[in-house]
Amino acid sequence: MDTIAIKAENFSHFFGQCQTLKNINLEVQRNEILGIIGPSGSGKSTFLRSLNRLNDLIPYSRVEGSLTIDDKNIYAAGTSITELRRKLGIVFATPVPLPRSIYENIIFGPKMAGVRDKKTLDKLVRQSLEDTAIWEEVKDRLHTSALKLSGGQQQRLCIARILALKPDFILLDEPCSGLDPISTMKIEESLRMLKKHYTIIIVTNNTKQAARVADRTAFFLNGELIEIGLTEKIFTVPKEQRTNDYISGRFG
């Protein structure tokens, strides 16, 4: 398989008159963790949500340029959005379990995709919860409400929920912004494990988190991609002054 999994070429995004992404050119490699950093309003979440076309839900959203995933332009006519979203699972800033049991949260996606076999579903639940290292904590209460879990557990459940769809990509939109340091550490550990099988893009407001988990890091500012490169390079010898200013905390 090609090592380049995602390729954005002159990709722009607009909400009505307002341009939120300006001519983004970047590539995401297979099985890497790409960190995206930048101040709020820099377009990093918008970029992430463009990848599985979640922005389509918002009125007056439109794109220009091309965004290719596995050599297919995902904005081309005839793209199956449901399949695309199954392939690129997303985890949001606040953990949002649906108001049902842990078990039902995990099987929601597969079930909607038509998986009915109880054994397959049971296996999926166990596998996804093990992959996010939460199985031991919840195996005895799979059928209790997911809302009773702690914030950190809920967020790992949300990751498990997308794993159950057997995605190729995991998109994380500030997944640890509401979590304590220990929960954050656990999630970061899971991400390092998951890297073996998935391509991961993590948007984070916490630059240190990008430094800890990302193989490469991209810096967004005002809808532009300022710089992308190996994480240790970005954090030690950035090419751009603005990148340096941001990561050393001079603005943003």
Binding site: N52, F92, G109, A113, S145, L165
Partner: protein, 278 residues
């Protein structure tokens, strides 16, 4: 006016307490009065035999059946229409001139006196479409009457489901219809049920709209086209024409108890539903 804030607090509290007490008193007084007059009449025989001699003696069995059929019929028509409209208005369109007209229209519909519905149902269903005085005409008329309540409450219930739940559902690769039926509606169900229960209460107690459209036959209805008398209509006729005041109160008591039971059952049902997932 008040110089001492503590006295002011006490006076306000006293006034508010009085208002609440008056409300509760009125409710209890009505229930107590009806039950006191009606309960002695109620027996198995009263519930399970048909009215004899225009209701002078005998029971109210056929009117209970009439009430149930009419209410059930009205719900059967109004629930899909109302919930469907609410889903369309909230999930499938954006707020625009058309949705505003629909909403305004349904609010106006809610304000129309029930006797006008009765007259309308009489002209359209009974006369024009030749359904006659029947369960069908009555149910259709009642369903129009409760439609605004169901639309309004369903709409509010659907709107109160957090947007992020829809986003999560879509992000897991669902279609719009799956998101609506599997995520939005289950969460909105308690609210939708409230609307339906309010509507049951209104249908069970309705007189004017029913008397014009379902008529007042005392037989047990045998088809959609039979005329039928509801408990509320029965009570009205018994009291108005002075046929039998004890039986009128008996009917009223059954009516009040029915509505109480419906409300309590709905309350319990909803609590159970909410507890299950929170």
């Amino acid at each position: 006016m008040f110089t001492n804030p503590r006295i002011e607090q006490k006076i306000i509290l006293g006034i508010l307490w009085t208002f609440t007490a008056i409300t509760v008193f009125i409710l209890l007084f009505i229930i107590f009065y009806i039950l006191q007059k009606g309960l002695p009449v109620i027996s198995y025989k009263f519930l399970l035999t048909n009215p004899i001699d225009m209701g002078k003696s005998g029971g109210i069995f056929s009117t209970i059946i009439g009430t149930i059929t009419l209410t059930f019929g009205a719900l059967l028509i109004a629930t899909p229409l109302g919930v469907g409209t609410a889903i369309y208005l909230t999930e499938y369109t954006r707020e625009n001139k058309f949705t505003r007209i629909v909403k305004f229209g349904s609010e106006c519909l809610a304000g129309i006196p029930s006797i006008i519905f009765g007259l309308f149902g009489f002209i359209l269903f009974v006369i024009k479409l030749q359904f006659g005085w029947s369960i069908l005409s009555g149910s259709l008329t009642l369903s129009f009457m409760i439609l605004p309540t169901i639309i309004r409450t369903s709409e509010e219930a659907i709107k109160s489901v957090p947007y992020i739940h829809r986003e999560v559902s879509y992000s897991l690769g669902t279609t719009k219809w799956q998101t609506v039926t599997r995520v939005v509606l289950p969460s909105a169900l308690p609210g939708i049920m409230t609307g339906i229960i309010l509507s049951i209460g209104r249908s069970v107690g309705e007189t004017a709209a029913v008397i014009f459209t379902a008529g007042s036959a005392l037989r047990i209805p045998t088809s959609l086209f039979s005329s039928s008398r509801t408990m509320a209509v029965h009570f009205y006729i018994l009291a108005r024409e002075g046929i039998s005041m004890p039986n009128a109160y008996g009917t009223a008591a059954v009516l009040v108890i029915t509505i109480l039971i419906i409300n309590i059952a709905a309350y319990l049902l909803m609590n159970r539903f909410i507890k299950k997932y929170s």
